[in-house]
């Protein structure tokens, strides 16, 4: 009846029991609070069933922040274990639990934090920057979000029921095959990624289509803001890379479920094929995350340097180069696997070539600052922190692109320090800059600067404290993923310093929580108006918070930085409001993702009737959607004009 699911799956020792109780009571508390505040109807109508890209974007970011807390808790556990578990002490985690924690940390941070941050930001900003009212396929947008949420829920469920993979975040076979990982952990990993990965692919297609088809009249490609360009590069990579991930995971699943031999040791399987395939997705993934962050900084720097972006054409060329080159470097993740020197050298050189367009971007930002009038608001601080750290991490990356050097550095903590530098300074600092920058546009009031700056300093100092020791530990010959090490190697002091860095980073997170609390409390005094930063792109031409229809009248774009040009020319003439077609709310995406979640759970535990039931349900919902004839409703021009006047008069 319940496949391989038994009561034993709930019993995972005292540490996990604490987490289980926390999750169950936490969820109950949230649900009770919503009930007490009588917010169910509001939640359902305004958020869960909404097809408004801005609201979907916010939901992505909310779930991403929840998952960030989970991934960060994992990091705290890892750092604590490695600071304690030396010599005769074995720390507080068993080896297998430690392995699950670092696997969960990597998987969650990439797939369930970084990816939704990117999709969330693109949802919030891209349609507005293009002068569009929505994305190309609003329903698919909702489905993408809910598939992502279903994957996140499945990975969280593995904490409560069963176990998670103990294989490392990319689950190399043969370790991830049944022979060496017979439990359900790898299956949770596979289906959580398959479900959320399907959502990512749909979102990628959606945003590419949005950029191609939904630009306002006059918004030629070469007039698009750089953020839109980087979104185009990033989403193109999603469209090409995610099918590879899906196919690779499907083959691993066939090995595990049907006894096939794609990647097994023996039986004709080739584990090296898996490593190639997973990095054919994995390296573009790095740029899927980094490119939009580059886009954010390309918006932030000109605004706060009060100067036009330097070298727009170069920026576009660099973005396109990075997009293309990111597909021909994957082998640098495994120079030590035994390829010939010709092959290793080729991939090493291609990797270095990516440093050229990246370097050009940095110089263009620098020369945007040159002869500017720089305001050191928080987004600009995040940019300066980003450049400082990213340049350092980029040098570490080029160093490892030389195969002869990588033979020594590969899989050491130097590598771990390198990619954390790139992703924390690139993706996360970009996200923090973006949130501070666009927050007033979305919510109508600005975030507190004092607490924002405190958060910046905690994050930057904490980052250095946490990761500089790891660079050094790499040179000491410390490999990644050690749950224990001998006392005589001299590693422990550095691991303790790294653990203290995590505490400082946590203080940074606390500052951000206080920042949001203080800003919400004082929101009446923090009213932003439509254009609080004297910015340049179209999203700042509409009221804050942005009305659900985005633009009362579709803008006519006459140049790059169109809003800036029009501001300089004097007050633009009020254009009459238009009749606007808007997508109707639907809960179908949520229910389809729910069916996918149930199917994933059934697959993990081999409950076949449940899988069949869920898949039939998914298909029925899909068909139901195709029978619904009316997907839009009309908002008459008079109503738009009334709403717009109200929005401009009453910012909050």
């Amino acid at each position: 009846m319940f496949g391989e699911l038994t009561f034993a799956a709930f019993n995972q020792g005292p540490i996990v029991l604490g987490v289980q109780i926390f999750i169950v009571f936490g969820a109950a508390a949230v649900l009770s609070l919503i009930t007490y505040l009588r917010r169910w109807q509001w939640l359902w109508k305004e958020w869960l069933t909404s097809l408004d890209a801005k609201k979907i974007g916010i939901m992505y970011l909310v779930v991403a922040v929840v998952m960030l807390l989970r991934g960060f808790s994992d990091a705290v556990m890892l750092r604590a274990q490695q600071a304690l578990s030396v010599g005769s002490s074995t720390g507080y985690l068993t080896a297998n639990h430690f392995d699950q924690v670092f696997t969960a940390h990597g998987t969650i941070m990439i797939f369930f934090v970084a990816m939704p941050i990117i999709f969330g930001l693109i949802n919030l900003v891209l349609p507005l920057q293009l002068g569009a009212r929505d994305v190309a396929f609003p329903f698919l947008n909702s489905l993408s979000f809910w598939l992502y949420a279903a994957g996140a829920a499945l990975i969280m469920l593995s904490l409560v029921v069963g176990e998670f993979a103990a294989t490392g975040w990319l689950a190399y076979p043969p370790l991830s095959e049944l022979q060496y990982s017979p439990g359900v952990g790898v299956d949770y990993w596979i289906w959580a990624l398959q479900i959320s990965g399907a959502g990512s692919l749909i979102a990628g297609i959606n945003f590419v289509a949005t950029i191609i088809t939904k630009r306002a009249p006059g918004m030629t490609l070469m007039r698009m803001p750089i953020f839109a360009w980087t979104a185009l590069g990033s989403m193109t990579l999603v469209v090409f890379a995610f099918p590879v991930l899906t196919a690779t995971l499907a083959m691993l699943a066939l090995d595990r479920y049907l006894g096939m031999h794609f990647f097994t040791a023996g039986g004709g399987g080739n584990m090296m094929m898996y490593v190639n395939l997973i990095w054919t997705w994995g390296h573009p993934e790095v740029y899927i995350l980094a490119l939009p962050a580059f886009g954010v900084f390309s918006e932030v720097v000109p605004v706060f340097a009060q100067k036009r972006l330097f070298g727009y054409t170069s920026m576009v060329a660099a973005t396109i180069s990075i997009t293309l080159l990111s597909f021909v470097v994957w082998l640098h993740h495994f120079f030590t696997m035994g390829a010939t020197p010709d092959v290793n050298a080729f991939f090493g050189i291609m990797t270095m070539v990516i440093a050229i367009p990246t370097g050009v971007k940095i110089f263009n930002w620098l020369f945007t600052m040159f002869r500017g009038r720089i305001i050191f608001a928080t987004p600009m601080l995040w940019f300066l922190g980003f450049v400082s750290l990213f340049t350092m991490g980029g040098m570490a990356g080029v160093l490892m692109a030389v195969p002869g050097a990588d033979f020594q550095l590969h899989n050491s903590l130097f590598l771990v320090a390198h990619f954390h530098t790139m992703i924390i300074s690139g993706v996360l600092f970009g996200f923090f800059a973006a949130v501070t920058y666009w927050f007033p546009k979305i919510f109508g009031f600005t975030l507190d600067e004092t607490w924002g700056k405190r958060a910046f300093w905690c994050w930057t100092v904490g980052f250095m404290t946490a990761f500089m020791p790891l660079y050094i530990l790499g040179f000491m010959g410390a490999t990644r993923r050690l749950d224990h090490y001998p006392a005589g190697l001299g590693w422990q002091p550095l691991f303790i310093v790294a653990a203290m860095g995590v505490v400082i980073i946590a203080l940074g997170g606390l500052c951000q929580a206080i920042q949001i609390y203080v800003s919400v409390r004082d929101r009446k005094q923090r009213v932003a108006g439509p254009d609080p930063w004297n910015a340049r792109t179209l999203e700042w031409s509409v009221p804050s918070p942005v009305p659900f229809y985005n633009f009362a009248h579709t803008p006519q774009v006459e140049g790059r930085d169109d809003f800036w040009l029009k501001k300089k020319r004097g007050a633009p003439p009020e254009l009459p409001a238009e009749d606007i077609e808007l997508p109707r709310n639907t809960s179908l995406g949520m229910f389809m993702a729910g069916a996918a979640f149930v199917a994933g759970f059934g697959l993990v535990w081999h409950i076949w009737w449940l899988v069949a039931f869920a898949l039939v349900g998914f298909f029925v919902l899909l068909v139901a959607r195709s029978f619904a004839d009316v997907h839009e409703e009309l908002l008459p021009a008079a109503e738009v004009a009334r709403l717009e006047a109200a929005a401009r008069a009453q910012p909050i």
Binding site: G268, M272, K307, A345, M352, M369, R373, S388, F407, G477
Partner: protein
């Protein structure tokens, strides 16, 4: 241990590690040509063009300069060209498969990564050891690497870079110790619960000490038969050093050949393929 001494990668005791260290330092020097100006410019510009400094020049519309942009496409490009040349030559020079260029014939050590320990087979000496590696100073060592377990990688930082050990595969790593000493060796590729316990000491000793060590093991240890091997190959953690007389000279090949069977897995009997030679199986190595 003194802090600087613990930076083992900067204290090579072998020619490969020495070349790899100088390669890293050269690469870092080249990159600093771009990185130093970036760091100087960013903080200088940030300070000089701060909003409060109204005496600095302000050109809000200046957004393009063909010459300037050419410079920062060209400078990184040229550095990468130099780096590319360095990469091409060094990758060939440091290819782990390449025998070390010397007239002394290499010592062959066959390495089997197991769950979770290392088996070192010395075919010429007719001995084997677990989690303990002894090599003579000044003689190249040719490691042949396979696994009867998930992927691992053999790494001895003070002698040189790592190479992966994978089931059914036959990889190469050529290293040489140029000074006597005891170094740390380990697996650098995560392979499961007992992975952390795969560290082992590497003793680089004089040729005569090595010969005496090998002869001592060959005269007084238990034989490593297929049965002993099958017991040894079962998962175990934090395994202390152990020494054997090699009873089956083809053990390494047989371990690898298990995975060439149609229904290959470590549970099938390796002895079913006696005396199978590597050279008879083209395409097995990468």
């Amino acid at each position: 241990m003194h802090f600087l001494d613990s930076l083992v990668m900067l204290h090579p005791r072998g020619m490969i590690a020495l070349s790899e260290r100088s390669l890293m330092l050269h690469t870092i020097e080249l990159m600093l040509i771009v990185a130093v100006p970036v760091y100087i410019l960013i903080f200088f510009f940030a300070w000089k063009y701060r909003a409060g400094n109204t005496s600095s020049q302000y050109t809000p519309e200046w957004e393009h300069s063909k010459m300037d942009e050419l410079v920062w496409w060209a400078i990184p490009l040229e550095i990468i060209l130099v780096l590319a040349a360095l990469t091409w030559t060094s990758t060939h020079a440091l290819d782990p498969y390449k025998p070390i260029d010397t007239s002394i014939p290499p010592l062959t050590v066959q390495v089997v990564a197991l769950d979770w320990k290392w088996l070192f087979i010395y075919p010429a000496q007719g001995i084997a050891s677990v989690n303990y590696l002894a090599i003579p100073v000044g003689q190249p060592v040719r490691f042949e690497l396979t696994a009867d377990a998930p992927m691992n990688a053999l790494w001895i930082p003070q002698l040189g870079g790592q190479e992966m050990a994978m089931p059914g595969m036959d990889n190469r790593l050529n290293l040489e110790a140029s000074a006597p000493g005891t170094f740390v060796g380990m697996s650098s590729n995560f392979s499961g619960d007992g992975f952390s316990g795969m560290q082992f000491p590497v003793h680089a000793v004089s040729q005569s000490d090595f010969d005496a060590w090998a002869a001592g093991i060959a005269s007084s240890s238990a034989p490593l038969t297929m049965d002993t091997y099958m017991t040894l190959a079962k998962p175990s953690e934090n395994v202390p050093a152990a020494f054997y007389i090699l009873a089956d000279p083809n053990l390494y090949t047989e371990v690898m050949m298990q995975y060439m069977m149609p229904q290959g897995s470590s549970s099938s009997t390796p002895a079913a393929m006696p005396g199978m030679q590597m050279d008879a199986m083209p395409g097995m190595s990468m």
